[in-house]
Symmetry: C2
Subunit: 193 residues, 2 copies
DNA sequence: CTAGGGTGTTACCGGTCTGTAACTTTTAGA
DNA sequence: TCTAAAAGTTACAGACCGGTAACACCCTAG
């Protein structure tokens, strides 16, 4: 029973990719290391040779997810070089695609919900990564010539965060279905000020 | 080691109240039935005489939480009888209080994040309760004389949902700090249309 | 006073979890 | 080809989990 993920790469990469996928689908506490290694076509000992602990694996998964997200921002720049406003619209578009394709929301937000201990090692990583994303969106809004860039960026952030969690409780036909309309009219109204 | 919750009520009530509190603070998968019954000053057998299973207890907790939230809506009506617009502002005010007092977000949304199995018995309850809350907010917006009541209600919903989950990943100084400003200017702009 | 329901106590079941030890097999590089 | 590192295998420890059985207790309604 070979698994679909990463047919023949190195065990560490397979584990990381499989863990990302399974944590995303079933939650962190909803999947054990045995299940991960089996799905990755390897075994528990190999996992613990590459990662100090399950928490360490979780952190590496979050970093990998953030790195993927970061690559999407590079796409925006590549597709609309210099045109920051077009990149902002691309961000909205990409966000809506995310909402229509996947219903399990943001891995970092979900992890923050699951890992309730205040001193959990993953929490500071989550905060760092989320703050970095915020900075990016603020910069994009500012460079797009919007006056209250921070406020627009934060509003868009909350809308998307809300949409991604709302999907998980009421589904895609709920409030999140209006995300694009909300975001675009927000941008328009901020530009008009 | 007596617990602070509900000194001497009936065991079922103590369990329900304690479970609500502990599920809220530590998550559903983060607390076991033994810990709940011990904190409630009773034992596991008594819990299972009143609740079919842990899942059943979770569902009852969610219903109880929703009932508490429902009582807040009665307060709005009592404090601003007939004045739906004032009640809408009161909703914003109450939401911001929630954000400043508690950093663990919405129990239903958190449960939806934690309970990933598509057929988990709690999921349909979560959906029902969330949809009922949505209906209430839509009705409030409509009765307050706002044209696109559904869109405003959904936007406010997503903003609050986003703020409550954002607090859990980046804290109260993040985007959620601007919630009131966002909500109020949204209401203003919808009223101006 | 007595009967019975609600409650408390203890022990247990089978399962799952993270993490490790000891050993064998495979793989890749010089 | 030889060697050394990486990976696989098996077994296990120790803890926790949800849930149940059997039995003792207490408190109140009749």
């Amino acid at each position: 029973m070979t698994d679909g993920v990463a047919e023949r790469s190195r065990p560490r990469d397979r584990i990381l990719e499989t863990a990302q996928d399974m944590f995303h689908k079933h939650g962190i506490k909803g999947v054990g290391v045995d299940a991960i290694t089996e799905a990755a076509g390897t075994n528990k000992m190999t996992l613990y040779r590459h990662f100090e602990s399950k928490d360490d694996l979780v952190i590496e998964c979050l970093r990998a997810t953030a790195a993927k997200a970061s690559r999407i921002w590079d796409e925006f720049e590549a597709r609309h070089p210099g045109d920051k406003l077009a990149q902002l619209h691309a961000w909205v578009q990409k966000a809506s695609e995310l909402l229509s394709v996947d219903s399990r929301g943001c891995d970092m937000a979900n992890a923050a919900v699951e890992l309730t201990e205040a001193d959990h090692p993953a929490r500071r990583v989550i905060k760092e990564l989320k703050e970095a994303q915020r900075e990016k969106l603020v910069a994009l809004c500012r460079d797009a010539g919007i006056g209250q860039a921070e406020l627009l960026a934060d509003t868009l952030s909350l809308l998307l965060e809300g949409a991604r969690v709302s999907m998980q409780s009421v589904g895609a036909e709920g409030p999140s279905a209006q995300f694009v309309r909300m975001a675009e009219s927000l941008i328009a109204s901020f530009r008009a000020r």
